[in-house]
Each structure stands twice: as C-alpha cells, then as structure tokens.
Amino acid sequence: MGTAASDEELIRLSAAGDRRAFEALVARHELSLFRFATRSCGSPRDAEDALQDGLLAAWRGAATFRGEAAARTWLYQVVIHACRRRQRRRSGEPERLDGLEAAESLPSGERGAEERVADAQLGAALEQALAELPEEAREVLLLRDVEGLSGEEAAAALGVGLAAMKSRLHRARLELKERVEARLRPRQEDGP
C-alpha cells in the first residue's frame, strides 16, 4: 500500500475488502484516536475496547462512508459512538483517570525541578478536570484543543452545527479553566 493514497481512497479500498488499505488507514490515525478514546472513556482499558469496537465498525461499515465529511472526521465519529456506548454500559462506575497521568505529563529536557513539578501539577489538574466534565464538554475539548481538529471537522464528528460546536466549546473551556484553577489554588489550610 503506497503511503501517498488519501484517507478517502483507503476507505474506498477498505470497502472493497482490502485489509491492507484499512490497516494503513488505521496506522495513520490510531494514536490520536486512542488518546481521544482514553480521555473520553476515562480509562486505557475501556479506551482500547472502544477503539477496537469503533475500528471494527469502520471496517464493517466502510462502504457506508459517503465522503460528506473527511475520513478522519468519520473515524472520530465511529470512535465517539463506541466510547458513548461503553460509557452508557458502565454508567455508575468510577470514570476517573488514575495517577499515572501525572507521571506521563512530566516533560523531558533540562528544565529546573520546580518548573517540572509545576508542569506535572498542571498536567494532572488538566487530566482530572477534564475527566470531571460532562461528556459533551470533554468531547469537544478533546477534538478541538487536544487533537486539533478544525471547527468544521469537530462539528461534523459530534454531529452538530458549527455554531453549536463553538458555543459548546466556549462553555467547556470556561468550565475547564475554573476547575483547573480550583485544583491548582492553594487550599486555605495549606497557607501560613
């Protein structure tokens, strides 16, 4: 499979049963889809299951791809639906990310220890605040601000209009900011 084929071409080949084309498409997007799924589902294990569910649905349904949205957007759509199905199945169970996230946020490089600690704290606060947000808010932040989809792509992936996506994104950012600041603010009892 040549690397020059577009995503849309790879989907068309997949629809005709070309597994190598589908695997090439998956290889292009699997990491960003997995990052999205991990934070959308709340745990790496659920994310892996949801990602597999979603990619299988994409493989099964490649022939239904109409090309109205970008192929990447379509892949996010199927993974979003798979995550939502898993979330509904597991509703009532804890969905928080574990402490490993803070360690993953530690940057490499030559920065000072204090800066690295502050950076790790910010990373952990972001992860925790994101995990606490309602599903709609979390999804739009992950698509736009973490994975960098365009406004149009994010709106299509979420199945809403551009104006609705922008409004949702703005509210989500404000809520995230408030939650992150609350987590980073020194507690009264910690003071002198």
């Binding site: 997995f34 991990t38 892996e48 990619l55 299988l56 994101l130 992950l142 601000d145 960098g148």
Partner: protein, 88 residues
Amino acid sequence: MKVENEVTIAGLSCGQVLERLSDYLDGDLSPAAREQLEAHLRGCDRCARFGGELRGVVDALRSHLARTRQLPGGFRERLRRAMDGERS
C-alpha cells in the same frame, strides 16, 4: 454573559468580551471585531488577565495532553484477529 461591575470600553462590555473570547483565541473574529475586542483588552486589566488565563488553559491542553501515547501492546494483532471474524 453578565459580569459583575463590568465596564464598557471600545463599545464592548466585559460580558460581551467574555462571550467572544473563544472566537478571538481561535482567530474566528473579523478584523474589525478583533480590533474592537483588543481595544477593550488594552483598557481592561480584568478582561486581559482572564483572557490570558483562558489562553493558557487552552494552550496547556494541547501541550500537555496531545503528547504521543503508546498503543497498548498487541492492539494491532487483536484488531486483526477481530477483523478476521468480521468479513472473512
């Protein structure tokens, strides 16, 4: 959005600035609207601080959370096996 003790600068209230901050950060405002909002920010420390903090959170989301993760070991193989059962 209603903001306590808001002021109006450059024809925009603090609440109107707050409503438009995401569009501003995303570069979605027209040049005239952007200039008007920036004029408010130059004259309003509170909005300027809030906007800077919001930009910081948005930037931090990408810089902290978009770092590459490894796929779980054996993911591709499990997906291949699952695909075998789908359209074989």
